[in-house]
Amino acid sequence: MTENNHHIAGLIGKYLDDSLNDEERIALEEWVNASGNNRDLFAAITDRQQLRANVKRFYAYDTDRISRKISAQIPEFGMPSAPQVHRIHFLRKWGWAAAAAFLIGGSVSLWMKHNKKTQPAIVASQTMNIAPGSQGAILTLADGREVVLDSMASGVVAHQSGTSVVLSNGNLVYDGAGENTAEIQYNKMTTPKGRQFQLTLPDGTRVWLNAASSIRYPITFTGNERRVEISGEVCFDVVKDVDVPFRVTINNNKASIEVLGTLFNVNAYENENAIQTTLLNGSVRVGIPSPTHTAGVILKPGQQAVIRNAIGVHTPEEKITVLNDPEIEKIMAWKNGLFNFEGANLEEVMRQLERWYNIDVVYENGIPNIQFMGEMSRQIPLTDLLEILRRTEVDFRVEGRKLIVLNK
C-alpha cells in the first residue's frame, strides 16, 4: 500500500483510458514485465469481462447496513439518510453463528426433541478419530488432466488456452480473457466426500460446493448464455448480466434453473428425496425439461422449489411445488460451517455425516425413529459428535470408515 502502487494504479487507469504518454508507457511496461505476478495482475485488471464484473461488485455492497452498524457505535455519525428496504442477510447472521459455534467448539447445542433422562454413554467400542471434512476438490481440466486442490497454498494451478487458473486463499479464480478456440473447453470441479470448496467462475460468479458435489463449466463463457452443470449441493452468487442469462442444469437434465443475477442454493443429492432450490436474493426460474415442453415455476426471494424424485405417473407439473417458508438457516448452514439438525430425523442426519466425514452408515437393528433439534459446528471430530448423539436412544460403533448405528 505504497505511493508506488498508487502510481501504478494511475498508469493502469491511463492505459485503460488510452492516454499514456511515452514516458508513462515505458514505466508501465517495465512494471508489467518485472514479474509474473505483475503480468497476471495487469491481465486480470484489464480483462473486460472481469472489469465489468468488478464494477458491478464495487457498487453492490450493502452500504446502508455498514452505516447502520457505524451509527450504533458512533452517535455523531447519526442515522444515514432514509432507511431503505432492508435486505435480509441470512448468511451474515449465520456467519456469526458459525463463528460462535466455532468458539464454543463442539459443546452442546444439540438437544433431543423428547428430553428423556440422559445417562452417560458407555463407550465400549474402540473408535479411531475420524476428522471432519476440510477444504479441497479435484479439478478436471479440458484435456482430461486432474489436479488435486487439497492444500491451501496459493498460486497458479494451470494454464489453458490463454486462461490461468489461480488458487488464492482457498478460492479458485480464472484469470485472463481466454483464446477464441473453435471448440468450447470445459473444466469440472468435483468435491469428494469429506471436502468442500469455493471457486469464482470466469464471469465473476461465486460458487460454493458442499461435499460430494460437482460443477462443470466452460473456461470462458461465449455465446448468448452461461451454462453450467451440477450435482450434489451447490450455492451460487451469480453476477447479473441480463444479456447473457445463467443456466444451471441439474443431474443430467433432471431439472434446470434460469437465472438473471442472484443468490441461491441447490440441494440435488441423488440420495435425498427431492431437488430443492432455495432463493435468497433475485429471481430464478426452476424447471423440469421434458421432450415436449419445460414445466417450471418462478421463485421469489425466500421461496423454495421442490422437485420430488418420485418415479411413475407424475407429470412434470405435479412433481414441482413451491414452499413459501423454507428454513433458510437450516438450508444455508453447510455454507456457514454448521450442521443444522433442526427437525431432522436420524437418517437425514446420517446422510449428512456420510458426506462430511467420508463414512458409510449401516443400521444394525433397524432405524431408530428419532428427531433432532439444534445446530453445531461442522469442525469437530466424528467421535465428539457421536458422543453428543449418544445422549439420544441410539448408540454407535465405528469400524474403519464404517459407522454402525445400534438401536438402544
Binding site: H6, K14, L16, T63, I66, Q73, F102, G155
Partner: protein, 200 residues
C-alpha cells in the same frame, strides 16, 4: 458553502476532526466501497468484508484527532482492513485445520495485499469518473452499467420518458469523451460500456 457541496480536502479533515456529521459522511462515502472491495479481494466473502469495513470506520471515528491529513486517515483505514482480513484468514485456516508454512503464507498474503490495493485504486478511479457525471446522467449510467438494466426498465424506474433515457445515455458518453480528451481522465471502460449499451 451550501449543504450539498463537498468539502475540499483540508477543510474536510478539519471538520472531520471536529466530528462534524457531514464531514464524517463524506469520509465514509469516499472510502466505503474501495475498502469493501479491497477487503473482499483478500477474504473472498462479501458480507464478512462489509463487517470488517464497518469496524475500521468505527475505529477511525473513535480517534479522529490522530489524523492530521486525509492521506493518513486513508492509510489507517486500509491498514486496519488488511490486519482484520489477515486475522479473519488465520481464524478460517484454523477452522479448516490446514497447516502450511507460515512464512510462505505471510509472503503470499503481502503479495495479495499489494495486488488487491492496486486493483482497488483502479476501481476507485473508474467510480470517481461515474460520480462526476451530472445527477440524472449518473443515475442512468449506474442503472445501465451497474444494475444491467435496459432503457425501458430505467425509464420505468426513474419515471422518465424512454427518449430521455436515451438522451441521458448519449450525454453520458459525450461527457466522458470530453473528460477523456480535455483532462486525460479515465473513461475508456465507461465508453466501452456506453457504446455497448447504445448498440442494444
Amino acid at each position: 458553502m451550501s449543504l450539498n457541496e463537498a468539502y475540499e480536502e483540508i477543510e474536510l479533515i478539519d471538520y472531520f476532526q471536529q466530528g462534524e456529521r457531514k464531514a464524517l459522511h463524506q469520509v465514509y462515502a469516499l472510502f466505503q466501497r474501495p475498502l469493501c472491495f479491497f477487503t473482499e479481494q483478500l477474504i473472498m466473502d462479501t458480507m464478512a468484508a462489509e463487517d470488517i469495513v464497518s469496524e475500521c470506520f468505527i475505529n477511525a471515528f473513535q480517534r479522529k484527532e490522530d489524523f492530521p491529513s486525509l492521506g493518513q486517515l486513508k492509510s489507517f483505514l486500509f491498514t486496519a482492513a488488511k490486519n482484520a482480513a489477515l486475522n479473519y484468514l488465520k481464524a478460517q485456516k484454523r477452522h479448516d485445520d490446514v497447516h502450511h508454512s507460515i512464512e510462505m503464507g505471510a509472503e503470499r498474503f503481502s503479495i495479495d495485499v499489494e495486488n488487491a490495493y492496486i486493483k482497488t485504486e483502479v476501481m476507485q478511479l473508474i467510480s470517481l469518473e461515474i460520480e462526476k457525471l451530472p445527477p440524472q446522467c449518473r443515475q442512468v449510467v449506474r442503472l445501465s452499467v451497474v444494475d444491467g438494466k435496459t432503457a425501458p426498465e430505467i425509464a420505468a424506474e426513474l419515471q422518465m420518458a424512454y427518449q430521455t433515457v436515451l438522451n441521458q445515455k448519449a450525454k453520458g458518453v459525450a461527457l466522458l469523451r470530453t473528460a477523456l480528451i480535455k483532462n486525460e481522465l479515465l473513461s475508456l471502460p465507461m465508453l466501452v460500456y456506453m457504446l455497448a449499451i447504445l448498440q442494444r
